[in-house]
Symmetry: C2
DNA sequence: CCACTGAATCGATGGATGTCAATATAGGCG
DNA sequence: CGCCTATATTGACATCCATCGATTCAGTGG
């Protein structure tokens, strides 16, 4: 039997259907926490809504905080698994991880 | 024309369709932050998955922290608008606010 | 090799936050 | 009223975290 890619395993049925285990709660809380800061949520929103599905840091860094702070928040979003980054020449591009976001949406879905 | 209940106004289209305003980001970040703690997420999960759609504090307080801490976290979830509480006799019951949760799910929905 | 731009890291700091023990409040029941 | 149980509040404390200025790293082009 082949080993399945562990990061693809969908986490957690909707919250209404079953209680989260301690481990799953820790995993999911990390992602919610990453979205739980206004600046980070705006950065995430800017990436998610950017044409082409990705954005250069230079396209999104106008959120009212300094450049190091923007970099810090993007790192947090990356570490939470919500964004992926790739350097192309001078610029670094960020894009959303669709499967991870879908897992969060599924968790919150009441109609299931 | 009747005045619509302001708290029913659905916030924010999906993240992929448009960038969040600063004000909307602040509102939504408050809710994500409330779910961004493992203990709070477990408490929320216990309420959401409890038969009947509501749970007494006594039903859900076994999450590994002290009673005051449980109370503190439930207050946070209430203040974020995710839970509502009602005292009935000796016990206090918590239930999820479905419309608010639905707003969060809508925000994260990629297929729209 | 050097200057320039974009982005990340470092170090410091003030404020937010999770936690607990102690105490208070609320309601039920003798 | 007095005692018991269920929750909430208070106060203290340690840790975490968002933020910034300064610096460093990476890549481009002269």
């Amino acid at each position: 039997m082949p080993v399945l890619a562990p990061e693809v395993v969908p986490c957690c049925p909707p919250l209404t259907s079953a209680e989260l285990s301690e481990a799953d709660a820790a995993r999911m809380a990390t992602m919610f926490k990453a979205l739980g800061d206004p600046v980070r949520l705006r950065l995430f929103s800017k990436v998610a809504s950017h044409p082409g599905g990705e954005a250069c840091v230079c396209d999104i860094q106008d959120v009212g905080v300094s450049q190091p702070t923007v970099s810090h928040h993007l790192k947090k979003l990356r570490e939470a698994g919500l964004l992926a980054s790739e350097r192309r020449g001078t610029w670094v591009y960020y894009r959303v991880e669709p499967s991870v976001l879908a897992g969060l949406a599924r968790l919150l879905d009441l109609n299931r």
